[in-house]
Point group: none
Chain length 418, copies 2
């Protein structure tokens, strides 16, 4: 199935917003066995939307549109689609009732704009949107499909996952495509590839291996397509297992798993409570850990010590250590771990202190220098990494790295006991 | 001048790369007085490139293409352009000599791929590329312009700045375009639109107002185009001021500002130190605050109290309060603020406690119920909001809401003193 994506919105054409929706959609659709024939961005102009849609429908089996469905005057996708299909807009009472309830719960009243949002093209199948007010719309037109979704990323993602992709698969049944994703952390793309060189040569031509690196993690994706789905799945499982055997502890999970969830499982299994003591990561590490549902079972909390005063008073880092070695040093993160274990009465603690930038760098400790320590009452391990020059990337990279450091510490502990 | 952008490359259609080039180009071209009529991404396929180019040239005065010029991609863009214009490819000796020198300086030899890179369509004006091997190409065709550039961001940016934009301005002397962006928080898109309804009717036809909502914030963008640049800027400033007057404290900044930066400025101006006490936001609020460079000037740190034990021991929340009202209650967040002010010795504290989900909801307190409190030694304000059902969205939404709550508290304090 060939799909064309259209993003509607002046904000993209003036460069105020980067179109991340299209990349997300392309990735998901590829996984679902579709190929993207093109991506177009158009402004909030009826004529442009119409001609782009017409052109796209000439090339592709389905056209997925995002944007231009809000309650304000500049949102015109719906009107344009009705005109394109030659149908009227009709007031849809159930949608209005849902919006009214949604706002009642927030203690707010609906506006005339919301009422206007409930006029729908008569040929649209409405796709329920649990994340916002505007439903998605599904049109069948001369054996082809047109879908219109809101441009707000989490609303679009919800609709794609729960409505659009399942419907497209039913509408365009094809060759079964299947995937296995193996998640690794701790080595870069080329090191991982080196270890899998021989195995890659063994792969049959209908199975491909892709490397998707991001922030110190490398996802390995096996993709295959074969008329015999059972055989395909067996082969994929077999090669996935070979990769796991080869890479050992570099592998932390599969599919949509995450490092933070992997750590959670280990901690829960052992009945241990984790805490963090953060300086440069400023709470981002704790955020990653608490983004996992149920993390309160193994995460007690965190002390974010953004000032030296808090490091000394709450985490018992000694003034001598800060004076002699500085806040970004092995000695400081070591004392932060001990302080956090004591203050928050936990079993395992991790501490991070670094220079996120853009200011604060020196010749000896340039921006991107990060110290971290992880430990329990028996042992504290430390590590220094060099991230980059961008503040946000440094925060994200060092937090991800810290998660893997916790994992390695917990695995090492298990080995020692075995 | 109307411009269409075309990005060439399979990596975009499979979602492996987000097309950030187009947003950068659109911003620069808008500032130069051009308007973007559309953006297209196509794969490395001759037929797709040709039909997209033809379509784009039908609508726009100029088409700018990026990608498909590297030594490994078989010159697909260049070959396609030569065929499109009906001209031959010719070996260009000066370009080859430059590439050879470039690699000699790096102590490397050129490959056959590099020689192939030096065959150019005979009708191209070559644009010198100081950042890489492939020059840009400028074509004039029936009074319209086609430009082809490498897709590597810094090469494209160099060529745009030094060659393409200056040439376009000479070729299409015309109308300046300008924008003003006003940032608001605290009301939804429709409520803001309601307050600006009369003002929207006053706008002259050459000035447009767009609403861009995201997570409890709404950005308002005024865009205009007029031959007289001075008059245009005066009018935009005037309407931007009218919007600010109308919306009052809903406005927190302009252009690329953020709520976290706005709070930072107020705190710094008053020499006050902020801390957070977080339960359900789990560090995300502190992360937003510390994502601003220099935030250590006004942010001391945070106590993330993910367990009731930490709430009691470190934040002095009384066991009676937790027993009687629960961890998600007005009373608890009030005590958390007092506890955080004392523990971290700060001037202002904010506390958030809620049910992020998916578990933990009850009839009385469903998932998405969030209590927050902000205060200093004199006064503590509280607020309850209902976010949604999605855990991550609840964390993000309540953190953004909390940022605005801090801002409102600080502004109220200033008013009270005035």
């Amino acid at each position: 199935m060939k799909i064309h994506l259209i993003t509607v919105g002046d904000e993209i054409l003036i460069g105020q917003v980067v179109d991340t929706n299209s990349a997300w959609m392309a990735r998901q659709l590829n996984l679902a066995g579709a190929s993207i024939s093109g991506i177009s961005s158009v402004g909030d102009h009826e004529e442009d939307i119409r001609s782009t849609l017409k052109e796209a429908l000439g090339q592709a089996d389905a056209v997925l549109m995002t944007g231009g469905l809000g309650p304000t005057k500049d949102d015109i996708t719906k009107k344009t689609l009705a005109a394109f299909f030659g149908v009227e807009l009709e007031f849809h009472q159930p949608t209005y009732a849902r919006i009214v309830r949604f706002f009642e719960r927030l203690g707010r009243k609906t506006t005339e704009g919301h009422r206007q949002q409930c006029f729908m093209p008569t040929n649209a199948t409405l796709l329920p949107n649990k994340m916002g007010t505007a439903p998605g719309m599904w049109f069948e037109h001369n054996g082809k499909i047109v879908v219109s979704m809101p441009g707000v990323p989490y609303e679009m993602e919800y609709l794609m996952e729960h409505e659009v992709i399942p419907r497209l698969k039913r509408f365009f049944p094809g060759f079964p495509i299947a995937h296995r994703t193996i998640l690794t952390a701790g080595e870069g793309e080329s090191r991982v590839a080196e270890q899998l060189e021989e195995l890659e040569d063994e792969l049959p031509p209908h199975i491909k291996l892709a490397y998707l690196p991001n922030l110190g993690q490398v996802r390995l994706r096996l993709s295959g397509s074969l008329p015999d789905e059972v055989q395909l799945n067996r082969q994929l499982d077999e090669f996935a297992q070979k990769i796991v055997d080869k890479l050992g502890a570099l592998v932390f999970g599969f599919e949509t798993d995450s490092l933070e969830a992997a750590i959670g499982r280990i901690l829960k299994e052992r009945g241990k409570m984790l805490v963090t003591a953060e300086s440069c990561t400023g709470g981002y590490l704790a955020h990653l850990i608490t983004s996992v549902p149920g993390s309160s079972d193994y995460f007690k909390g965190s002390l974010i010590a953004y000032s030296n005063e808090v490091k000394m008073k709450q985490l018992d880092v000694s003034p001598q250590t800060l004076d002699t070695y500085g806040a970004v040093s092995e000695q400081t993160v070591r004392e932060m771990v001990r302080g956090a274990l004591k203050l928050l009465e936990a079993d395992v603690a991790i501490a991070v202190s670094g220079i996120a930038g853009p200011g604060g760098g020196t010749q000896e400790k340039p921006v991107g220098t990060i110290w971290m320590a992880v430990g329990d009452e028996h042992e504290v391990l430390t590590r220094r990494i060099y991230a980059g020059k961008d503040r946000l990337k440094n925060i994200e990279y060092s937090s991800t790295h810290a998660l893997n450091f916790i994992r390695q510490f917990l695995l090492k502990e298990r080995e020692a006991k075995a």
